[in-house]
């Protein structure tokens, strides 16, 4: 039951079934000391159930949860050195900001003066004004409540902090701010954070490592860079966002054939044994070509529409039945008009082939 050095939390075959159906299916995972690990997956993928087992609010059906070499399966949440920030935040509405933060210290029997000092320290760390100490939690804004919830969890001095999509209810701008703030707090405190979200974008911004979950299984674990550049399946590729993906057959080294794109496609090296799969090309790797020879692969189509995405512009180019998605930075926008015939293309090195699972 002893994990490797630097591993704070070690999961082995962790399973939870509800009415015979596995919500979490034999998950193996090592979470490293001090990292910000994000579990990302669509709703119903089992990520909340997994997190609730780690926090002690759900009993595993099978498998082990090992915290620093100690199996903690049977330790209830109130005796685990871990703490959770809930999606609803679950602040105590009848207590003031200060009393919310001090809750765990009061439970531990710490005297009022020490409690208050510590609470004010945490409020300062989280940039909550000192005047909020005596204010009702119902009378502060959503972002401030978020910080109170985090301060309350930090006051427990947990070994690991769990986050159950705490930002999902906030508006976009505030969410973007808090994502970064959370990453800063992670740096400041040096604690291990385990975060779950359905937004891979959110996960990318914050995480040291990401685990992608699907149907109760962790399908890929890696750094944001690894997940982005080298997704290991069609599911992960599509989960990251808009992507050009179509089925291909591998006919030889660097040679692919697709039923949808005419001709032979120059592809990347493919692992042995992979004969059928999906070719994935990210929108930013597709280019408008002056001449077809400018890229390893090219397709002729018509510009169907363009969408402004802030710093980038997305184009949909239709070639027969297929729609290709391209993205350009604003300052290098496509100069032509809609319905114009264009040649687009990509290089083999910028594409990957993934299996269908």
């Amino acid at each position: 039951m002893v994990g490797r050095d630097g591993v704070i939390l070690f999961l082995k075959g962790l399973t939870k079934t509800f009415a015979g159906r596995p919500a979490v299916d034999a998950v193996d995972l090592e979470i490293l000391e001090g990292e910000l690990f994000t579990i990302v997956g669509p709703s119903g993928s089992g990520k909340t159930t997994l997190l609730r087992m780690l926090a002690g609010m759900e009993t595993p059906t099978a498998g082990d949860i090992v915290l620093r070499g100690e199996r903690i399966n049977d330790i209830p949440a109130n005796r685990r050195p871990t703490c959770m920030v809930f999606q609803s935040l679950a602040l105590f509405p009848h207590k003031e900001v200060g009393a919310n933060i001090e809750f765990s210290m009061k439970i531990r029997g710490i005297d009022a003066a020490t409690r208050k000092r510590r609470a004010l320290e945490l409020m300062k760390l989280l940039r909550l004004p000192e005047a909020y100490y005596g204010r009702a939690v119902t009378r502060i804004s959503g972002g401030e409540r978020q910080r109170v919830a985090l301060a309350r969890a930090l006051a427990y001095e947990p070994e690991i902090l769990f986050f159950d999509e705490p930002l999902s209810a906030l508006d976009y701008k505030l969410r973007k701010t808090l994502e970064k703030e959370l990453k800063d707090i992670h740096r400041e405190t040096g604690k291990t954070f385990v975060y779950i979200t359905h937004s891979l974008e959110e996960a990318m911004v914050m995480s040291d490592r990401i685990g992608v979950m699907r149907d109760g299984k962790l399908v890929q674990i890696g750094t944001p860079q690894e997940i982005y550049v080298a997704p290991n399946s069609k599911f992960v590729s599509e989960f990251i966002g808009d992507v050009n993906i179509f089925p291909v057959r591998v006919t030889g080294p660097g040679k692919l054939v697709s039923g949808e794109v005419p001709g032979e496609i120059a592809g990347p090296p493919v692992s042995d044994g992979l004969h059928e799969g999906y070719l994935v090309v990210r929108p930013e790797f597709l280019r408008f070509l002056a001449k077809p020879e400018d890229a390893d692969n090219h397709v002729v189509g018509r510009v169907y529409n363009e969408y402004a995405l802030g710093s980038r512009i997305q184009y949909h180019v239709r070639a027969g039945e297929l729609t290709f998605v391209l993205e350009k930075l604003r300052h290098e926008a496509f100069e032509g008009s809609l319905d114009q015939e264009v040649t687009i293309g990509w290089d083999a090195a910028n594409s990957i082939v993934v299996p269908d699972r």
Partner: protein, 285 residues
């Protein structure tokens, strides 16, 4: 803008039926009772010059004994109801699961039968040679004195009759405590008992307070329990009022007693509501 220039808004028109009902159903009778309480004793009209003689005679009489009995029994009823109903309500919300509906029904169905009929049922159950004592006597040959016509059985009757009015607001109050709030407290190191004391109890207080107010107000005016089960071993204030209006044919005295009771209960309720700010508990402020 309407042509007539004198039109009631849609909201005002919608409020008219309620206003009429309140006026005819509550304001007029209340004003009549207050009017009668200011009439000379044993008169039957509202045309006499007003006087406070009824209030003075109440002050000089021993009516305060019935009043204290009513208030005391009502207070005891509320306390016992809290102790009985909280665990049941807690169970209905958190423990009994799919049995909750059945148990709720068992509490509701007796309400379909009139209160007096139910109390006479208890009378037959407890009476000498009745269901309880008669069965014990014929089966085991033991003979006990009936507990009927004691203060204890009056209290029992009051608790029994008023259970639903405490149980259901309380059930609602407990079910309004969010699951995640309890989990958060538990996760922050609180024991089951600390979760209850620090989170569940304070957050379910609105239901508890509404239940207390409801049962207290109803129990202060209770009369049937002492009549049917108590054999008038205690005289509640409602009984004095009834006597004044019926046997004694002294409407002004009965009216004055009613006004006094309303005042006392009104003040107590207002004090309770001020002490416990419901909105604050519900997190609206």
């Amino acid at each position: 803008m309407s042509a007539s220039g004198f039109r009631i808004s849609a909201g005002g028109r919608s409020a008219l039926p309620v206003l009429a009902l309140l006026l005819i159903g509550f304001a007029v009778p209340l004003a009549t009772v207050i009017g009668f309480s200011l009439m000379p004793a044993r008169t039957f009209g509202l045309s006499h010059p007003p006087t406070f003689e009824n209030y003075i005679s109440i002050y000089e009489s021993t009516t305060y004994i019935s009043l204290l009995w009513s208030l005391g029994l009502a207070a005891a009823t509320v306390v016992i109801l809290i102790l009985i109903s909280y665990p049941v309500a807690y169970g209905l919300v958190r423990v009994f699961g799919r049995w909750s509906t059945l148990i709720t029904l068992l509490f509701v169905i007796p309400l379909f039968v009139s209160e007096n009929v139910r109390l006479y049922g208890w009378l037959l159950f407890f009476i000498k040679n009745g269901v309880l004592l008669g069965t014990l006597k014929s089966l085991f040959g033991v003979e006990w004195d009936s507990i009927l016509f004691t203060k204890g059985i009056v209290l029992f009757g009051m608790v029994y009759v008023h259970i639903p009015y405490m149980l259901f607001p309380l059930t609602l109050g407990i079910s309004m405590v969010p699951e995640e709030t309890r989990e958060a407290a538990f996760d922050l190191g609180a024991s089951r008992w600390q979760v209850f004391r620090e989170v569940e109890l304070p957050l379910s207080l609105p239901g508890l307070i509404i239940g207390c107010l409801l049962t207290f107000v109803l129990a202060v005016g209770a009369i049937a329990e002492s009549k049917v089960l108590g054999g008038q071993v205690v005289i509640p204030i409602a009984h004095d009022i009834e006597i004044a209006f019926t046997y004694a044919q002294n409407w002004p005295l009965g009216a004055a007693l009613s006004v006094l009771l309303m005042l006392i209960v009104g003040v107590l309720v207002l004090l309770a509501l001020r002490r416990f700010d419901l909105d604050r508990f519900l997190g609206r402020r």
